[in-house]
Amino acid sequence: MIIPEFEYVAPGNLQEALDCLASHGVEAVLLAGGTDLLVRMKQRLVKPRLVVSLKNLEGLRDIKEENGEIVIGAMTPLVEVLESERVGKHLPALRQAMGKIGAPSIQHFRGTIGGNLCLNTRCLFYNQSQFWRSGRTPCHKDNGQTCYAEENSDRCRSANLSDGACALMALSCEVVLASCRGERVLLVEEFFTGKGESPFAIEPDELVLEIRVPMPGEGAGSSFQKISYRSAIDFALVSAAVSVRVMDGQFEEVRISVGGAGAAPLLLKEAAATLYGKPFNDDEAIEATSDLAKKHASAFMVENLGSCLEYRQKMIRILVRRALKEAIVVATG
């Protein structure tokens, strides 16, 4: 299906890109790898007047260590994040997430970490062709007033299915946004609005510059778990990521995030808190926490992915538990 016409500009450097967004940001979309954007344009879910290509922004393609943080430029291809020694050593959850995205052989060269972070939310009733959606009133995410996933819902019930976002939420990172007005740093949990209609706290004149993940200290570990029907290509039915710090045999810090449940990766603070101070090998506590994570995440979920909702909710408990156990293994060496 042919893509509708638009104007195209490929700024030569970051400043040019920001200038362009300052003038035209409202009617523009940013093109990184395009593996999500182009599909949505073909489906006429988005019809931008202007496409701003980031292909020349080589400066945004970088993984480095700075001020106790691992800084990854937004245009860094997934394969480079996946194969980075630094990431593999310190941020196993992120590496695992990269490995699970799409088709490893093809997508990883083209997809970018920034693009994956900004993967738009999804719903089976929304991510369809223009024809499929015709003949009835559009849904909330499609600039309409109704929801087909959950009857009578007054808001969009689409879900965040980005593997990278789920992992980064657990790892706790900063998202650095740039515009002509300067730089703005958001915590990852502030970056996601939780609103399916507009999932990201990005202003029209901004772009994501880089993500900054704090170097995990001693006793740190993380893990990402995903369940999908096929071993490649598929989005997650649900996913879970955990980062922990174990000191003196006890949980000191725990972050649990669940993907595929809400319009943002869900940071389950309450569930995570139940582990503080507990011994790392307290299987009962881990099980109870996983169960609580399932309970809390389930409250956000509706039948929006075409799979049995009940099943996806059940899997949250399994994945959180697996992520916890694996993160502990990493943490305790």
Binding site: M1, I2, L31, V39, G102, P104, S105, I106, R110
Partner: protein, 157 residues
Amino acid sequence: MSFAVNGEEVELYISPNRTLLEVLREELELTGTKESCGEGVCGSCTVLCDGVPLRSCLTLALEMEGREITTVEGLGEQGRPDPIQQSFIDHGAVQCGFCTPGMLMSVKGLLKRNPTPNEEEIRRGISGNICRCTGYAKIVEAVTAVTTGSGRNATGS
């Protein structure tokens, strides 16, 4: 825009909304690369961009400014197929042939990064290419044969 396709410099005047796949098939009449899903799932549109696999159906042509594209037509030479093409023929890895060009390009990409993949690595390397006819078995055999010089060939030896 100007870019290279199968070793030849190409200069075209292209509207921004054209994908690389459309330009290859229509402007350049290289119809070997196929569209089977249009959404970047099936891999039939796979080409190599600077030696690395790329889904041409999800790539705007203008993004390819200055790049080197290799399509299936760029493999081997007239009368002398690339060893991987010959291996596909010899091992019965081709049935209807619709997925074959994309499959070959993914394999070329894989072998460039990893010249001696084991079976699991081969299967992972082609996990972005959907084939409905073969069940993948003989495709894996064909790739194995080319990398190890062993594997059963057409005469059963």
